[in-house]
């Protein structure tokens, strides 16, 4: 053991924390379950809200896509019907001209 090491030992002697340290630790330890439940409760609630929002937004988006698809389908059918009717008229005119 050198004097230098002795010096270090003296410099690093243990020190006491503030007088109410143990009381504060025990007080905090007395409410871990409540705190944990509150924390976990909040975490679950946040997760549930986030999941509900995702489902709602996802559902809304899917419904909108479906509605747009239906609308486009109806428009396409209507366009085909108009085209078909025009073609029919043209066909009749062509047939009449040929006779």
């Amino acid at each position: 053991m050198t004097d230098f090491e002795d010096q270090l030992r003296r410099a690093f002697e243990r020190q006491e924390p503030s007088a109410d340290f143990a009381d504060r630790v025990v007080a905090r330890a007395s409410r871990p379950v409540k705190v944990a439940m509150y924390r976990y409760g909040r975490k679950w609630l946040s997760s549930a809200i986030a999941a509900a929002l995702i489902v709602a937004l996802g559902g809304g988006y899917a419904w909108e896509r479906h509605r747009q698809g239906e609308e486009a389908r109806a428009q396409l059918i209507q366009a085909m019907e108009i085209t078909s009717s025009k073609l029919e008229k043209i066909h009749k005119k062509v047939q009449g001209a040929l006779r």
Binding site: D3, R14, V25, S30, P32
Partner: protein, 182 residues
């Protein structure tokens, strides 16, 4: 046969809440835990906060503690790990390196509180792992093999850190041992 402290005391801390055994353990080891953390962080309020976290973790793991010796080992291990983790997470590190720290003007007696403070400041300039090694060696009086077990690193690494840190501290302190004095 090994019983947990809770069993020895005939209590279940998780169910009952605050226990006299836990409070006694806090009072018995608070100086050790607080000093390890304080010497590492060099900040009294941060040290008290982190020391509290260490004891709260002890409370959560109360049933795993097999003996008083195990409890001391466990507290030192958790305190060391939390200190190093906090330094890495919050960049608690000082920016001035030990090599850049100015030397004291004159020789100061060993009991001088200013010298003690200067040594603490020098320690704060060391990197996190070497700093903790010096604290465990000179505050707790642990051997390199015990430190290597606590910090989960090879003994040779611990010895190497220790030698390098002591050389730097010795140089900065301008210490002249009695046998070196003319």
């Amino acid at each position: 046969m090994t019983n947990s402290l809770a069993q020895e005391a005939g209590i279940q801390p998780a169910a009952v809440g605050i226990t006299q055994a836990f409070e006694a353990a806090v009072r018995e080891h608070q100086a050790m835990v607080y000093s390890v953390v304080y010497h590492f962080l060099q900040d009294r309020s941060a040290a008290e906060e982190l020391a509290q976290e260490v004891f709260l973790e002890l409370f959560r793991h109360w049933h795993e503690i097999e003996s008083r010796a195990h409890r001391v080992y466990w507290l030192r291990k958790v305190a060391s790990r939390k200190c190093i983790d906090q330094t890495r997470r919050r960049k608690f590190r000082n920016h001035v390196s030990l090599e850049e720290t100015p030397e004291p003007f004159t020789w100061m007696p060993a009991t001088d509180p200013l010298l003690k403070r200067y040594i603490e400041q020098l320690l704060g300039k060391l990197q996190d792992v070497p700093r903790m090694i010096v604290i465990l060696r000179y505050q707790e009086g642990l051997e390199p093999a015990e430190i290597s077990e606590l910090l989960e690193m090879p003994v040779a690494t611990v010895k190497s850190h220790l030698q390098r840190s002591l050389a730097l501290l010795r140089k900065k302190l301008s210490f002249v041992s009695p046998e070196e004095k003319p």
